[in-house]
């Protein structure tokens, strides 16, 4: 099976190379009109079919690796290092992406899958899809070259074949690890598709903005995957790492966040290009940057450039990625310089205070946030290079620099939809901003009254201050969004006689993109409220003997015993804690500590009790080596469940935005490229 897998990978590389070469030649012939012994259309179609066959070959290779994991073939180095006989089935499947070679194969397979879908739907616009497919093939050649020559997943063990493997990293033996990496990779890899469309459209000087509409759908789906991947990663960190938080500004977390920020900026600024013919160069570079940042993220994760808790798989493939990123940047620059006249804008902004400028400022802040994170992530490397002194850039840096920028972005989220296109009158500002402003100040007053004050123990507390600002701005943004819904629904209600709920539903269906976007913004506000709760975390740590008690917040934890358990995969010991509130027993928690047999690595399994107001988070830290007494750490994490609820709303909003509207706006999508798109009605009523 290993030989089959290796052979399948080689075939996939050959097919991708053919796809690239034949596709490039065919497109060149089509562009120049030169005579050729074979029709360029037929040549392009063979390239497309090679791409489809390449997907089959990569699928075969991925299947071979999974088969080898499940059959415990420890003659393969990768299987020996990342699996063992007692590993449960789902985690054996997760072994596919737990190491470098497997995760690069996963990347290639996902890229092949995206390419497969793209090539099957090529009739939508044959020529544009041929360009995009050829560019995808170029990226695929790189990844297949890496998995064939630099990080082969089917490499054989040297020397004696062990009876059992080293097992999967204990940190990865958690249910979310079966879906978090694939979702994150679906997001990372997916940005290759809009990149390919953008570069292809620029190369062929694609007329009109239809490519933007095609790309937007791909980008939204990709963005959704990346969003879910990031939040699942946060939840994993929260439940597994045992430090009580979900985001530690780790370089690899940052690496996933950066393309998310630029992708989000792109999703906003494409509206300007579609509606006003503005920001064409900006959009092209946003998508180029997003793709480059996904490569940078993989480089950071895989090459050990910066120290990270995610350093599950490090090696020397960094050089491959640096060279490839250089090539991609050079191609992007060259194409842009050659074709920049095609990106001439149709309109310019007319006022500093308008819907258009709010989009521009929104983009600006998203990009600055991206720069701040990139800067903080790479500053240790820069510092070591310049002054020979490695420094740490941790949470305190980001809290001081990124949090204010994030709050400003949240503010713009609320302000943008309240501003009319082109220019704003003082009267409309006054009318639109009254309710949000009242919401902001009412929230400030309520927060100060209930004790959310920017000082703590007599000193200024920046965490509390930011939380107060976050709550206030969130209230303002929520008021702005809800008033937008109510205003539109009120008009429909008056016109059709429907109740307000039904009118809101109809309003949303009439312009899913606009109101789906608002729902996403509501989700973002809920997430921000959840994040702000972190300012009020409380923790207690105590050695607990039998029937000893630990009080935290409204809860009292009583230890009623410690016990042990074991299975083929790990030994565990856990504490049994009865939790009381107001003197009445509420529930039992069993925080656990495991030692995995194959790797002999310890791992905490946190016990979490979630309610809307807070999480009770309990960690069994093991026994005190001096006293032999077990140590229990309990943390009250306010508003954490809001984070996960916010993500669910974001996901729902994205689905809504993906559904075609009832308005004629979507009809333009189905117009073939050869015919000009019909002009949109002057008052179409939405984004």
């Amino acid at each position: 099976m290993a030989t089959f897998g290796s052979f399948a990978l080689l075939i996939a590389l050959a097919l991708a190379a053919y796809n690239l070469l034949a596709g490039a030649i065919a497109l060149r012939l089509l562009a120049t009109g030169q005579p050729a012994p074979i029709s360029p259309e037929r040549l392009a179609d063979t390239a497309r079919r090679a791409g489809i066959a390449g997907f089959v070959a990569i699928t075969a290779a991925a299947f071979a690796l999974v088969w080898l994991v499940f059959t415990n073939d420890f003659s393969i180095t990768y299987i020996m290092e990342h699996s063992n006989r007692a590993l449960p089935g789902p985690y054996k499947f997760a072994a596919l992406w737990s190491g470098q070679e497997g995760s690069l194969l996963l990347w290639a397979w996902l890229l092949g899958t995206y390419g497969f879908v793209l090539r099957l739907t090529h009739k939508y616009d044959v020529r544009l899809y041929a360009y995009a497919g050829t560019i995808l093939a170029a990226v695929q050649v790189f990844f297949l070259a890496v998995v064939n020559f630099a990080a082969p997943p089917f490499a054989l063990m040297k020397g004696a074949i062990p009876d059992d493997g080293n097992g999967l990293n204990p940190l990865l033996q958690y249910p979310e690890m079966v879906i978090h990496p694939p979702l994150l990779y679906l997001g990372y890899v997916g940005f290759t598709v809009p990149f390919a469309f953008a570069l292809g459209a620029l190369m062929m000087r694609y007329p009109g903005e239809k490519w933007i509409k095609i790309t937007r759908l791909w980008t939204m789906v990709t963005w959704l995957f990346l969003t879910m991947g990031i939040f699942l990663g946060m939840h994993w960190a929260y439940a597994v790492l045992g430090w009580g938080g979900y985001w530690g500004w780790d370089p690899v977390e940052n690496a996933s966040f950066m393309p998310w920020l630029t992708g989000t900026a792109f999703l906003h600024s494409v509206m300007m290009q579609e509606k006003k013919g503005m920001m064409k160069s900006w959009n092209v570079w946003l998508i180029f940057a997003t793709f480059l940042l996904t490569l940078l993220g993989t480089l950071l994760t895989r090459a050990g450039l910066v120290s990270s808790v995610h350093a599950f798989a490090q090696s020397s493939i960094g050089t491959w990625f640096v060279v490839f990123m250089g090539v991609v940047l050079a191609v992007c620059l060259f194409t842009y310089i050659l074709q920049r006249s095609h990106l001439k804008v149709d309109n310019h902004l007319e006022s500093l205070v308008s819907r258009e400028s709010s989009f521009l400022f929104n983009n600006l802040v998203l990009l600055v946030a991206c720069f701040v994170i990139l800067w903080g992530t790479l500053f240790p490397v820069l510092s070591e290079f310049v002054v020979g002194n490695k420094v740490t850039v941790g949470a305190p840096f980001y809290n001081r620099v990124a949090v204010p920028i994030g709050l400003f972005l949240l503010f713009l989220t609320g302000v943008g939809p309240l501003l009319p296109w082109r220019a704003t009158s003082l009267r409309s500002i006054r009318r639109n901003f009254v309710v949000p402003t009242i919401a902001v100040w009412a929230t400030v007053i309520v927060c100060l009254a209930v004790g959310v004050r920017p000082w703590h123990d007599g000193a200024f507390d920046s965490g509390n201050f930011y939380a107060l600002v976050a709550f206030a701005v969130s209230a303002g943004v929520m008021a702005a969004i809800l008033s937008e819904f109510l205003r539109g629904a009120g008009v429909i209600s008056r016109q059709t006689g429907r109740n307000l709920f039904a009118a809101t539903w109809l309003l949303t269906r009439r312009n899913t993109r606009r109101y789906g976007g608002y729902i996403i913004h509501i989700g973002v506000v809920i997430v921000v409220i959840g994040l702000a709760g972190a300012a009020f975390n409380r923790s207690e740590e105590k050695e607990l003997g039998l029937h000893d008690k630990l009080a935290i917040g409204p809860y009292t934890l009583e230890c009623i015993g410690f016990t042990q358990d074991s299975n083929l995969n790990y030994n565990s010991e856990y504490a049994m804690l009865d939790v009381y509130k107001d003197g009445k027993k509420q529930f039992q928690m069993t925080p656990e500590k495991r030692v995995y047999l194959a790797s002999q690595q310890p791992q905490t399994m946190v016990a979490i009790h979630s309610v809307l107001s807070w999480d009770l988070y309990v960690v069994y830290e093991g026994a005190n080596p001096d006293t032999g007494q077990p140590i229990i750490k309990a943390i009250i994490n306010p508003l954490v469940s809001w984070l996960w609820a916010g993500v669910a709303i974001i996901v729902f909003g994205t689905f809504v935005a993906l559904v075609p509207s009832l308005t004629p706006a979507t009809a333009a999508l189905r117009v073939p490229a050869t015919r000009p798109a019909p002009s949109e009605p002057a008052f179409k009523g939405g984004l």
């Binding site: 521009l360 740490t392 100060l448």
Partner: protein, 164 residues
Amino acid sequence: MGTRLRFTFWVKSAQALALALAVCFSLGATDASSRYNNLNHRLMCTCGCAEILGECNHVGCTSSAGELAELRAGIAGGKSDKEILASFVDKYGAVVLAAPTTHGFDLVAWIAPFAVFGAALMGTILLIRHWSLGKTQFTPEPPSPEMDALHDKIRRETGSDGGF
């Protein structure tokens, strides 16, 4: 004149509000009594886990307990925050600090984000101003009953004065 008076009123109101907030925010601000918590969040655990010292609790950590004990001893010994942090840097190197310092090359880490933000913001504002000043002056058509009726219809149907 009336417009100017109204403008002055709003400016004065904003100033009064800012002053009230400043007073409100500074109420009760006295010497810090939670130095330990503050300092353990400005230091990193040195075991290689890349976690903040005050939050490092992973199983089998060999460094955080010792570092926290040193921190407690430093506070009990009457050292200032600066002296405590300096002693940690002397012992463990600059990587023990959770964020870059504010002197030497480290200062660049703090300045660059705000400099980039400021420059980008200024550049964008100037660009928009340039565009808005350079655009062809739009002369609105004189009001007509047809246009007024159309405007009224649009306002009725959209419930707004031009948003979206």
